[in-house]
């Protein structure tokens, strides 16, 4: 840890390496290659032809860099600082399976969309069938069908699906599992709110965090009430936040 002799010597080895590929250089560091380049400055580089699978670049500045014929996992560049010519490298799936499994659905009413293909690939690798999947995960066949096709499902449904996948992923043929695990590690979930005759709208991580912060503030400052911490909708929190700002003169 820190700028000790070992880390300085690793930095030196990276500098003088005769191989100039991002994955190789990250491996020299001994750190987790998946997260190594998060938040990094990778602007103005020629990265063409490199294998970037199994790596995530969220927060990295990749502007003005060339990514011709690069191999990468879908979602790997979501959340990067990009220039307009790089939009093709990103998509709308901004949340990770880890976020999904750690989120308490009793805080805010949310819905999900899962990246199409993920659930089907899991079934193909494990050779389980949909009936078994549905029974053990306790997700109806209909909801499972919707999730597989990338349609909107309840938040708890998406959680059950991925808990099942996480619990049943080990013990299968290694190479296909490794490739699947890489894809599942990348952002593959969209969070949404709305429904109930209104259109579903996507919500960003930043917006969700700020609403959760406000919700906590509202609960901490509410008079004693058995409903003060019951599940809120995004629409209610946005209204409450705006009302609070206007009446309490918060800048």
């Amino acid at each position: 840890m820190s700028l000790d002799k070992k880390n300085l010597s690793i930095a030196y080895s990276i500098l003088i390496s005769k191989i100039h590929e991002l994955k190789y250089l990250a491996n020299i560091s001994g750190r987790d290659v998946f997260t190594f380049y998060r938040g990094a400055d990778l602007s103005g580089l020629d990265i063409s032809g490199q294998d970037l699978t199994g790596m995530n670049f969220e927060g990295a500045n990749i502007k003005f860099s060339s990514f011709k014929e690069v191999a990468f996992d879908p979602g790997a560049f979501n959340g990067c600082q990009i220039d307009p010519s790089q939009r093709w490298m990103t998509d709308e799936y901004g949340f990770y399976v880890r976020d999904l499994l750690e989120f308490d659905p009793n805080e805010i009413l949310l819905f999900c969309k899962v990246r199409p293909g993920i659930i089907d690939e899991f079934i193909r690798i494990t050779d389980l069938n949909y009936t078994y999947f549905s029974e053990v995960s306790m997700v109806s066949q209909n909801a499972l069908r919707k999730a597989r096709s990338g349609s909107v499902v309840a938040f708890e449904t998406a959680q059950k699906i991925f808990r099942f996948i996480s619990n049943n992923i080990e013990g299968h043929d290694n190479s296909s599992i490794d490739s699947f695990k890489k894809k599942m590690k990348q952002p593959c979930i969209i969070y949404l709110y709305g429904g109930n005759n209104a259109k579903f709208k996507e919500i960003s991580r930043e917006r969700l965090e700020s609403l959760l912060k406000f919700r906590k503030f509202k609960i901490d400052n509410s008079p004693e009430s058995p409903w003060s911490d019951s599940r809120d909708t995004v629409e209610y929190l946005e209204w409450a936040e705006d009302y609070f700002k206007r009446t309490r003169d918060i800048p």
Binding site: M1, S2, L3, K5, N7, L8, S9, I10, A11, Y12, I14, L15, I16, S17, H20, E21, L22, L25, A26, S29, R31, D32, F34, T35, F36, Y37, R38, G39, A40, D41, L42, S43, G44, L45, I47, E58, G59, A60, N61, K63, F64, G79, Q81, D83, P84, E209, K213, F217, D220, N221, R248, D249, I250, P251
Partner: protein
């Protein structure tokens, strides 16, 4: 604070104080903050290279201990105070960051080109045009970010350069905030804590140079590849970050690094 040197704290100096806590009136909290870039490795033989370090962005927080509360009417305003002006600067920043001919970097020249919509290159922007930008835009922009009744923050970003440099506000004339009068007298004064933090991607490492111990011919041959340079810089940032995590894991992109923290002294 652990025994290891806080390298990141070399890029700033921080001091803070507040008026005596009393039940009659609120107490002003003052923060004296100054940023600069630091060069690391020169005086340490263990470093095979030297490099510049600075901050692209930082978050200053003031936390008052219960039972103190912040008087929201006294929060220092944003810099610049005019919302329209602030929005205009942020918009100009965004245009400058998309400008490939300036490498997406913010500088007086790229800000001038973005604001005026001209097609000039860096070398074509006159000294006068650059000075106009430096005079019109504050060196450091401060954006207030409310937290809760006991805590308030300001996000600090450079106005017309890549890194924070100088003082964002006058430490005496521009207090950060005032607390409400204390609700009751107490023997122990509640504390006022000041923290400065940043994200990993806000650390700016530049101008990395190998130490000059080899014959010129070999140095020429060893011109460092750009890809290697950026990977090495990322490794250095991660190493620096490991020393100073506030909470969470380093692989959590949203973890803040605590650069400096102190208790404001009562004067």
């Amino acid at each position: 604070m652990n025994n290891q040197k806080r390298y990141l704290s070399q890029v700033l100096s921080l001091d803070a104080w507040h008026d005596k806590i009393s039940t009659d009136s609120g107490s002003s909290v003052h923060v004296e903050l100054s940023f600069h870039s630091g060069r690391l490795g020169g005086d340490n033989s263990e470093f095979p290279f030297t490099f510049n370090i600075s901050l692209r962005k930082a978050l200053l927080s003031v936390e008052v201990e219960h039972p103190l509360e912040i008087d929201r009417r006294t929060i220092a305003r944003s810099i610049p105070g005019n919302q329209a002006e602030l929005t205009k600067i942020i918009d100009t920043h965004n245009v400058a960051k998309s400008n490939a001919s300036f490498g997406g970097k913010i500088s007086p020249a790229s800000m001038h080109v973005s604001a005026s919509g001209s097609m000039q290159l860096d070398s074509q922007v006159s000294q006068e045009e650059k000075m106009k930008i430096i005079q019109a835009i504050p060196g450091i922009i401060a954006i207030p970010k409310p937290v809760n009744s006991q805590s308030y923050s300001w996000e600090l970003i450079p106005g017309h350069s890549e890194s924070l440099d100088g003082q964002p506000w006058h430490p005496v004339d521009e207090p950060r905030l005032k607390t409400l009068p204390a609700k009751k007298k107490s023997k122990l004064s509640p504390s006022v804590k000041i923290k400065l933090s940043c994200l990993l991607e806000d650390i700016n490492i530049t101008d990395l140079k190998l130490k000059d111990e080899r014959p010129i011919a070999i140095i020429k041959e060893m011109a460092i590849n750009k890809m290697n340079m950026k990977a090495a810089i990322q490794h250095l940032k991660l190493s620096l970050g490991e020393m100073q995590l506030e909470a969470g894991q380093l692989d959590d992109r949203f973890s803040r690094l605590l650069i400096a923290d102190m208790l404001a002294s009562e004067v």
